[in-house]
């Protein structure tokens, strides 16, 4: 897939980021250059090679099923940009 095909405005939407016109133009110019550099990986035949997702894969690390204290409501809410009673306040999600 040719890297020049990236549609920055569309990807920004997927990423929940609103770009200014200037940022869109800048990234539309820069990101294809970066992706073109990434293309060098295509030269490597990786068929049959297992992907590595972590330095040292560890799976299913479970603790005992015992309740432990977490952040209490006051500390969890202490950084809330907006709060109402014991909740995070956000714009209305459900239509009236």
């Amino acid at each position: 897939m040719a890297a020049e095909e990236i549609d920055v405005a569309y990807v920004a939407q997927l990423a929940t980021i609103r770009l200014t016109d200037e940022e869109s133009r800048l990234f539309q110019r820069q990101i294809p250059v970066i992706l073109a550099y990434m293309e060098k990986l295509r030269r490597l035949d990786v068929s049959g090679i297992e992907p590595t997702s972590h330095g040292h894969p560890v799976y299913n690390v479970l603790r005992d099923d015992v309740p432990t204290p977490g952040l209490d409501a006051e500390r969890a809410l202490a950084n809330a940009p907006a709060r109402m009673r014991n909740t995070f306040k956000v714009p209305r999600i459900v239509e009236s």
Partner: protein, 481 residues
């Protein structure tokens, strides 16, 4: 008290012998910050009263018979690690006003050992960068050359230590962000093996690569801090249950019996000639210390930067999805009718340009139709890079390399060219991809007075070997005029 050259070891000894109190020591650090940081800009936040209160508590504890290893020793912390009650901005506008509600595990362990948390140091926003110029808050200058960057992303921590404003600091290293600024500023920087140190309480950038480590004046100091911070943490499932040796006690002696490899792919055209000369001199010093030097090959080195930026950006794009203005940090003041509008406004205002660029890149490589072509492909190349190290470490105990192709850049030199900035990490990203450990140790300065570091890389969980080599080299370097 000259804290400009005081080591953690000397501070521990001085405090134990009651030559000075923690309040006096912390006061000296605060005075140094007051005197020098106006020019350097290493710190984002210092609360004198809070630091002195912690120091007084340490003195009281000592008077009461406590004797934690770091009791009363002030440390600087990269502003991406949570210290309860202190700000944690990640040098981003999106976390303006945030105060950490809990301690990161490394902080809890250092606190248990008695450390004082004196201030928060600058970084590239969310640790994304190699110069610290991507901080949304301020510029940090290199103490060795104030027209130059300190390196990044832990540039504030490196500048604080090298600039005589901290005895030691914590940094984080995702693709070289401890080792590279340490090299640029002239201090020691240790990236532990993946799984050696808990990442709980570190604001995640790329979870499969991030590690927390010490930035210090000496290798011994790095050993002391790693000994306190390392080890399994039930809160981070990727930490491994392996004993933490007494690294500091194991230092000393020469390098007889060790084979050190020079990867030929790291000594190539493009490497600054002065950096090449200083690193070669360091290699010779290691040989004189008794090490056998062998040439090795890491054939996939040229693919490391591309692999790294695909994987790191992909992980960043998912990790940074949590910054949406709902639970913490800043929310856009622009009135929003829907949650989506609120997210869009908040993220548009809150994130800086480099962070947005990487989120876009990461979202693209993870998106339907491109996932296998970029992300999975890069993960497979990562396996090849790991195998390179496995093969190399069959022939030697550790590797010696440059940290960075060039000494510190002039401020602004990489600002318009992100790809150029990404290539700065060419010698450091491989250690993160492979999960091995690495250290940067100062190996001299260029004719222009710019510090250069020697990188030592060792297999995963062989920090003891790494520190032993770094320490022996450091002693040999000190002994020569």
């Amino acid at each position: 008290m000259d804290i400009g050259s005081l080591t953690v070891r000397a501070a521990i000894d001085g405090l134990r012998k009651r030559q000075f109190s923690s309040v006096e020591l912390t006061r000296a650090v605060l005075d140094a910050i007051m005197a020098r940081d106006g020019v350097i800009g290493a710190y984002l936040w210092v609360d004198e009263a809070d630091a002195l209160k912690q120091a007084a508590a340490a003195d009281a504890a000592r008077a009461g018979g406590s004797d934690g290893l770091l009791l009363g020793v002030p440390l600087a912390i990269k502003d991406i690690l949570n210290v309860e009650g202190q700000p944690c901005t990640c040098a981003s506008k999106i976390l303006a006003g945030y105060r950490a509600p809990y301690d990161a595990t490394v902080i809890a362990r250092l606190r248990e050992a008695g450390a004082v948390f004196a201030g928060r140091t600058n970084l590239d926003e969310f640790a994304m960068g190699s110069t610290t110029e991507n901080s949304a808050i301020q510029l940090t200058r290199n103490p060795a050359a104030p027209d130059r960057v300190p390196g990044g992303s832990s540039g504030g921590s490196a500048a604080a230590v090298a600039g005589g404003m901290a005895l030691a600091a914590l940094g984080t290293d995702t693709g070289g962000s401890i080792r590279q600024p340490a090299s640029n500023c002239g201090c020691v920087g240790l990236k532990p093996s993946y799984g050696r140190v808990s990442r709980y309480g570190l604001v995640a950038f790329a979870s499969s690569l991030d590690q927390i480590g010490p930035m210090t004046r000496t290798v011994e100091d790095a050993s002391l801090l790693l000994g306190v911070m390392g080890g399994r943490d039930p809160r981070d499932a990727t930490t491994l249950d392996r004993a933490v040796p007494d690294y500091a006690a194991a230092l000393g002696g020469d390098l007889t019996g060790l084979r050190l490899g020079l990867p030929k792919e790291y000594f190539v055209t493009g490497l600054d000639p002065e950096v090449a000369r200083l690193v070669q001199d360091a290699v010779e010093a290691c040989r004189r210390c008794g090490a056998e030097i062998v040439e090795v090959s890491l054939p996939h080195t040229e693919y490391a930067v591309a692999t790294y930026y695909i994987l790191a950006s992909a992980e960043a794009s998912t990790n940074l999805a949590r910054f949406d203005g709902v639970r913490y940090g800043r929310r856009s003041a622009v009135p929003a009718d829907t949650p989506l509008d609120m997210y869009l406004n908040t993220r548009a205002e809150g994130f800086g340009r480099e962070v947005k660029r990487r989120i876009i890149l990461g979202t693209y490589v993870l998106s339907s139709g491109y996932y296998d072509a970029y992300y999975t492909h890069a993960q497979r190349v990562r396996t090849l890079i790991r195998r390179d190290f496995d093969e190399a470490f069959k022939r030697c105990d550790a590797l010696l390399t440059p940290v960075s192709p060039d000494p510190a850049y002039l401020i602004g030199a990489t600002a318009e060219d992100p790809l150029k900035a990404y290539l700065i990490d060419i010698f450091t990203v491989t250690a993160n991809l492979a999960g091995i450990c690495g250290i940067a140790v100062p190996c001299g300065t260029t004719r222009a007075g710019l510090p250069v570091g020697l990188q030592v890389l060792a297999p995963a969980f062989e920090e003891g070997t790494l520190l032993r080599i770094g320490h022996a080299y450091e002693q040999a370097r000190e002994a020569r005029p």
